[in-house]
């Protein structure tokens, strides 16, 4: 039975980069840590997981923007995950039809049907999907499908202390996000805009973002590239 479309609105202007979403995601979905947690530091700001992959379904990006004089310094943070696209290339790419659109209009890989061809990984324009090194199947964010079925909100949105990650019906999230952009414009943050709401973004993303710089700054494709 189809319910209304559920999704996430991520307001990056209130993200504090605490990574609680990364940890909550791993805890709920029982995802392992890199090499049992004995990982190394990369020197890319405070980012030590670098990408989304088969066992990192959430990833917080850190972008330091400072000029030599440190005028108007900025440290951007953005918690990234699967976009749950309307026209999801991964669904079309899977030769086994293992990726489904759920009753919440979210995109979920069924692990028991995945044969590990990783066609989906190549098809995803956001680089969201990779293989799980142990199970050798494609894995990614399910928007906590099991929690949703039980009336709970996704672990990331539940744990986010500043409500940077907001969960709800898309038709409620979009007007709320637009009002937030207007508020930021009034406060002088004129570069604020929504990424992923319009049709051009693969029919609209089920998980969309409020950004204050160009998409490529956040390592996201321009809508023209989609």
């Amino acid at each position: 039975m189809m319910t209304e479309r559920m999704g996430l609105f991520t307001d990056t202007t209130v993200c504090i980069g605490c990574k609680a979403c990364e940890v909550a995601c791993k805890q709920w979905n029982r995802l392992l840590a890199t090499r049992g947690g004995v990982s190394r530091m990369y020197g890319y700001s405070y980012d030590n997981t670098l990408n989304l992959d088969g066992f990192h379904w959430r990833h917080v990006k850190f972008i330091e923007q400072f000029n030599e004089e440190r005028h108007e310094p900025r440290w951007l943070m953005m918690s990234d995950a699967c976009k749950h696209c309307t026209q999801a290339p991964c669904i079309d790419a899977c030769p086994e039809d293992a990726i489904i659109r759920t009753e919440f209009d979210t995109v979920v890989i069924q692990p028991e049907l995945c044969k590990g061809y990783f066609a989906c990984a190549g098809a995803c324009p956001f680089g969201v999907i990779e293989g799980d090194p142990n199970l050798r199947i494609a894995r990614k964010c399910t928007l906590c499908y099991d929690r949703l079925k039980n009336g709970l909100i996704p672990a990331c949105a539940k744990t986010c202390p500043t409500d940077s990650i907001q969960f709800g019906p898309l038709k409620e999230l979009i007007p709320r996000a637009k009002a937030r952009v207007e508020q930021l414009h009034e406060q002088g943050e004129t570069s604020a805009y929504l990424y992923g709401v319009e049709e051009e973004y693969l029919g609209g993303l089920g998980s969309f973002y409020l950004l204050i710089d160009q998409p490529e700054v956040y390592a996201l494709p321009q809508k023209s590239q989609l």
Binding site: V14, C18, M41, Y46, N48, W75
Partner: protein, 832 residues
């Protein structure tokens, strides 16, 4: 705040969404800075120069000098008009020190590890009074408590309500801060003048009748050799701006652990007993119960009730054995003989003066000047470590760096080490007291595994065994432990785990009628000084008003859209009050200062409002003080600061602080620059423990040219004893690093993510360089000064390991509270 208190920062971000401005002042650009409207970087250790600059800006601002709100608040709710003793000399007169400076006399050295060599006699800092203070010739012994308190009555303080007399507090404050100009702020702190002025302007603009500004801080402000004065400087500024006792104002101490507030209230601190009464001491005239009260109570203000608080406390300690005839067992109570806090204790330990240590949830093997602290641990006979994991402290004898390097052999260490595995917090029930002074009960979610036990179990069982050990002792010194009331056995007999009933503990803290223990006290106004009430901590009295009502368990928020203080959510001490001194939220006549900042007001018959009024409920705003009255009778209807003997907020502190009545900028003990403001380089009465393992760099020492500050990361907790055992946390912050600016990296030829060696006179460690423009060099009085920063979460135990940053720090202490100076010292950085 975002970095170390992300959950609390939720509320700061909610305020920001509603239009609040966030200002962040920090040596480093952090995750908090990233969300701030204005960010100022200052050199670590220059806080008072910055805050003093704002005070100077406020005092010279035209709006502040003419706005009736500021002037009424200043004149009536602070000690601005009080006149100080004519013998008082300020730092302006004595080039950086106050009158009363003297050497510490050897006779005071009952405990030779205090770290003090100098001190102040604060006689000259006192108020000038109408007439001499009468010293009663009559002995305080054998007189009733009320008469004793009456005898402490002082003649009225001299005041000049026109605020013109040169020795009025406000004139002293003006003169004291006159040299803290914007230009001086830039020279000392390295913060550009424009940024400083923007902040000073914003803070003042956002304060007044309709608006309030709040200051929040954590250990970045406290861990300095003048840490208490830095907080005092915030308080002085907030009083000038009328931001105390009002909603959205105040000074918010963000504490370092869950329930650290609780551990000050029911203290694990050596120098106080429950409810902020000083610990009885052999260094003061505390020879008897009445001598203690004569020394510590005051005739006016709420502390006049100290006899009730203290006797009820002693009843909770010694029960039926405590009687009026034996001064409620006062002589059995332990007395302190000096500074028994962390640093002096480890210095004494290193010198072989301490036999054994119970180390519960603490990790001294990686604490301040860690090599010296481990020397202390090696000189113990026994050490008990109780923790969730095998910490560095539990393995100091076989895995510490000096063992690995074979400088010390484990078989040469005499210390016998016992390890007790601990239950996690979710495996026990109890209360947390948060930074808002709010108690919230937490429930047990799971049984602890195997032989893990809660801290309450450990303490209770230890107490039972000690009592048994001393049962037959007739030694006078053992009577305290023999008479100690120690019955927390669970009511339900099927509980055979030995776990105490923590609600029984809460009941003892809350208090009850001595003759009818089922009749709990409902508030501290019920306390008596004759032994008829039993109450461990007067400030917590009322949290458990009847056996079936533990108010810390309440979880009822105010309905949406209703303005209120959520009084049915948990319980805040004292008396479920959410804003202290909230009488100050109303004007002289008891009306709210403004509709927007309405909180407590006089309705014609009583004080009422959104919160529990912090005032005599039926005292009208125009009531005058009774000249002969004690306690609150001695204060008028316009004196909101009821814990103070003079009922007003102190801009100038005649007592309470040992290092001066006004905050003054001193350089950190280790600094690359001389003090530009005064010839006096450092806090003249700071604590330092001279030891070959605790050597210091000289001022502007060329071997150690960089300012170092330590910090915490969101991903880890303290020394990592909890967080470095969780693989989800270790992978997101795996390795120790040092943040350095690109400018310093170029100077030293250091690449990002490269290994570097960091040294101080105490030791050297390795870390990765994180080269980031979030760090920047400072221009201090014309000289370019580099600053670096290191998180201190690593050690040799856990999933990920790293060098101990505290090998770099020194044992230097604030003289008031003995906090160490880990937020500002000097170091060198080289390619490894």
């Amino acid at each position: 705040m975002a970095e170390c208190h992300p959950v609390a920062f939720r509320w700061a971000m909610k305020a920001k969404l509603q239009g609040a401005k966030i200002i962040h002042v920090d040596p480093r650009f952090t995750r908090t800075s990233a969300k701030a409207d204005i960010y100022a970087s200052i050199r670590a250790g220059s806080d008072i120069a910055f805050l003093g600059g704002i005070i100077n800006y406020v005092l010279n601002n035209q709006r502040w000098n003419t706005d009736p709100f500021f002037q009424q608040y200043l004149l009536n709710y602070t000690n601005a008009a009080s006149i100080v003793n004519e013998d008082f000399r300020d730092t302006e007169d004595l080039d950086g020190i106050f009158s009363g400076f003297m050497q510490y006399s050897d006779q005071e050295d009952k405990w030779p590890f205090n770290g003090s060599r100098t001190r102040y006699d604060n006689t000259s800092w006192q108020y000038a009074r109408q007439g001499k203070i009468r010293k009663s010739k009559r002995s305080v012994e054998d007189i009733p408590f009320e008469e004793l308190i009456c005898s402490l009555k002082m003649p009225p303080v001299l005041k000049d309500e026109k605020l013109q007399h040169p020795r009025t507090v406000v004139q002293l404050v003006r003169r004291h801060f006159s040299r803290y100009t914007p230009e001086m702020v830039e020279k000392v702190t390295g913060c550009p003048k424009e940024t400083f002025l923007k902040i000073a302007h914003t803070v003042l603009e956002n304060s007044g009748r309709d608006r309030t500004t709040s200051w929040t801080y954590a250990v970045g402000l406290t861990q300095h050799s003048n840490g208490s004065q830095i907080i005092g400087c915030c308080a002085l500024l907030q009083l000038l701006l009328g931001n105390i006792g009002r909603p959205g104002g105040g000074i918010v101490a963000l504490r370092g652990h869950a329930s650290i507030q609780g551990s000050s209230d029911i203290p694990t601190l050596y120098h106080s007993i429950h409810g902020y009464m000083p610990a009885p001491s052999v260094l003061k005239d505390h020879s008897s119960l009445r001598a203690y009260l004569a020394s510590e109570a005051s005739a006016t203000g709420y502390w006049a009730n100290m006899p009730k608080f203290l006797t009820s406390y002693l009843k909770s300690m010694y029960g039926a054995a405590a009687t009026a005839e034996n001064d409620f067992g006062y002589s059995w109570h332990p007395k302190i003989s000096g500074d028994h806090s962390h640093m002096p204790m480890f210095v004494a330990m290193a010198k072989g003066h301490v036999k054994g240590m119970l180390c519960i949830g603490q990790n001294p093997a990686t604490s301040i000047n860690a090599s010296l602290e481990r020397k202390g641990l090696r000189n113990l006979q026994w050490l008990v470590v109780k923790d969730n994991f095998i910490t560095e402290t539990a393995t100091f004898w076989n895995k510490a760096p000096e063992i690995v390097s074979k400088d010390i052999k484990p078989e040469e260490i005499q210390t016998e080490v016992f390890f007790f595995p601990s239950a996690q917090v979710a495996e026990s029930e109890g209360s947390f007291t948060n930074t808002q002074r709010m108690l919230q009960w937490h429930f047990k979610a799971a049984e602890p595994p195997e032989d893990c036990r809660s801290d309450a179990w450990f303490t209770y069982q230890l107490g039972l065994r000690l009592k048994k050990l001393y049962t037959n002792s007739s030694q006078p010194r053992d009577q305290g432990i023999r008479n100690l009331v120690w019955d927390f056995d669970p009511v339900l007999q099927e509980n055979t785990s030995g776990e105490p009933d923590v609600e029984k503990v809460l009941k003892e803290i809350n208090g009850f009628q001595t003759n009818n223990p089922d009749q709990h006290l409902t508030g501290f106004t019920e306390l008596m000084d004759d032994g008829s009430t039993t109450c461990a901590s007067w400030i917590y009295c009322g949290v458990f008003p009847s056996p079936d009502r533990n108010l810390a368990k309440r979880r009822e928020p105010d309905p949406p859209g209703v303005i209120g203080a959520h009084l049915n959510w948990g319980w805040a001490w004292p008396a479920n009050r959410r804003v202290l001194y909230n009488r100050a939220s109303a004007d002289l006549n008891g009306r709210p200062w403004s509709e927007r900042k309405k909180w407590i007001w006089w309705d014609g018959k009583k004080w009422t409002g959104y919160d529990t009024p912090d005032f005599a409920l039926h005292k009208p705003p125009d009531a005058s003080a009774d000249p002969e009255g004690i306690g609150l009778e001695g204060l008028s209807g316009r004196q909101p600061f009821i814990m103070k003997p003079d009922g007003v907020g102190w801009l100038f502190a005649p007592n309470g602080l040992v290092d001066g009545p006004l905050p003054t900028h001193y350089e950190p003990v280790e600094s690359p620059v001389e003090n530009i403001l005064y010839n006096q380089q450092n806090n003249p009465v700071l604590k330092y423990w001279k030891d070959e393992d605790n050597r210091l760099a000289e001022v502007a020492d060329e071997r150690f040219p960089y300012v170092m500050t330590t910090f915490r990361l969101t991903e880890h907790f303290l020394a990592g004893a909890m967080s470095r055992w969780n693989s989800w946390l270790t992978e997101i912050m795996p390795e120790l690093f040092i943040e350095i600016s690109p400018e310093l990296a170029v100077e030293k030829g250091i690449y990002n993510n490269q290994q570097v060696r960091v040294t101080t006179p105490r030791g050297g460690i390795r870390a990765r360089a994180l080269v980031t423009s979030r760090m920047r060099p400072f221009l201090i009085n014309g000289r370019r000064i580099h600053q670096v920063g290191m998180p201190w979460h690593w050690g040799w135990q856990g999933i990920v390991v790293g060098d101990v940053v505290n090998h770099l720090t020194a044992l230097i202490g604030d003289p008031n509270v003995s906090i160490h100076e880990a937020k500002a010292f000097v170091c060198n950085v080289e390619k490894a």
